[in-house]
Amino acid sequence: MDWELFWSSLWPIVRGGFVGTIPLALSSFALGLVIALAVALARISRNRLLQAVARFYISVIRGTPLLVQLFVIFYGLPSIGLTIDPWPSAIIAFSLNVGGYAAEVIRAAILSVPKGQWEAGYTIGMSRSLTLRRIILPQAARVSVPPLSNTFISLVKDTSLASLILVTELFRESQKVAAFSQEFMLLYIEAALVYWVFCLVLSTAQSRVERRLDRYVAH
């Protein structure tokens, strides 16, 4: 094990995490949640067409490799005259991807809120959308934290694909060092360690959020 290389490459890799992986993951996740919420609502709406569109979207996103989704957006769209820069392309692709996976999570969470909560909202005169916003979603949020944090952890690692469309992030940095030093195994393991540390931090954050949301839930 070449410790000197390990230590000298650690900072570039971690920096790649801070300037690439993390901002990319955070912004895509935030945007992805918005998409997911919209798609989940479409899935449970009474409008058949909306339902079908949402189902199709989810099926395509989950049924095809993320790599291909990235490629189509970055290398494919220019052929119909739409050329998008690397970062926006990556954010679009990842947030569409998160949207597809998280939609099902959010939908399940909404459905897990007891029907009586809807009725309690209605009986105090709330409309469907007001009930959803004030009564149902806050409760659904609690249920969806663990599965959504899984989605987020996967996303963090998936962002390594962004290097394919010219976004520099953690994994790319380790590949650069690997390419020059020829120490592929060492650098891959080093990148894995950095990912792992990031994920450990995220898991801790997740438990925090869970505990905070648990506040008002019966034991």
Binding site: Y75, T83, L166, T168, Q175, K176, A179, Q182, F184, M185
Partner: protein, 252 residues
């Protein structure tokens, strides 16, 4: 017997596979070759799903024949190709590996079997006329090729890509200004795909020298391979293979 061929011939389990001896290869009766299989015209599948073929494939096959052993190919991606050599998954890499200082420190190389200059490729209407013009421009380069350093050396912003196909795509979409690659790749591309919208604006002084790559310490094997290459050169086989793929002799 696929990967274990490499494992067995490495001898001595329990440690990182040491260099490989000619005896070991001849005892095994097979030379296990690591190659991408997706890098035309050097190593690819005929028709896309047919047999593995290509310039490097034919050369290494001819070398094995001279050594009196069979050849067996293991296909993997570039990312894994050196790891595969080091871990004894195969005996040799035949994949246009160019010789540089870092690699020479870690591996043994045969005599080069391709020598080609690097070319600077840009859109037909470019204002770039020399490598010096790369200063402040953007090029697309494969991380793992020596052209990455060349472009960087001239002050270009280098976008790392996975390979030639992506580089061309970026060039055509106007997302980068130029790309440096070896002449052979461009010649093949021009011949098969057509490249009227692109042009070669400059050539490097130093040629890239690509060779078969072995684990460090494979001294007698490398010598035998070099003898074989010399014989193949002498009897015209190398030139013949080269003509077939490039219409020119790129082996010297």
């Amino acid at each position: 017997a696929c990967s274990s061929g490499g494992g067995d011939s490495s001898g001595g389990a329990g440690t990182e596979p040491e260099g490989l001896s000619l005896d070991a290869v001849q005892d095994a009766g097979v030379l296990v070759v690591g190659t991408e299989g997706t890098y035309r015209p050097f190593t690819f599948h005929e028709g896309g799903s047919g047999d593995l073929t290509g310039f490097d494939v034919e050369i290494v096959t001819a070398v094995a024949e001279k050594l009196g052993v069979d050849v067996e190919f293991q296909e993997t991606q570039w990312d894994a190709i050196f790891a595969g050599l080091e871990s004894g998954r195969f005996d040799v890499i035949a994949n246009q590996v160019s010789i540089n200082d870092e690699r020479e420190e870690k591996y043994d190389f045969s005599e080069p079997y391709t020598i080609s200059p690097g070319v600077l490729i840009a859109p037909a209407d470019t204002d770039i006329t020399s490598f010096e013009d790369l200063e402040g421009r953007t090029t697309a380069q494969s991380l793992t090729s020596n052209w990455y350093e060349v472009a960087e050396g001239f002050g270009a912003n280098v976008e790392a890509v996975e390979g030639w196909a992506q580089a061309v795509e970026l060039l055509r979409q106007g997302r980068v200004d130029a790309t440096v690659n070896d002449e052979l790749t461009f010649l093949d591309f021009e011949k098969t795909e057509g490249a009227d919208d692109l042009k070669v604006v400059a050539e490097t002084e130093d040629a890239s020298r690509n060779a078969l790559t072995f684990r460090k310490g494979s001294t007698d094997l490398v010598e035998a391979v070099n003898d074989a290459l010399a014989e193949l050169r002498a009897d015209g086989t190398l030139a013949e293979i080269s003509e077939k793929y490039f219409g020119a002799d790129v082996t010297q």
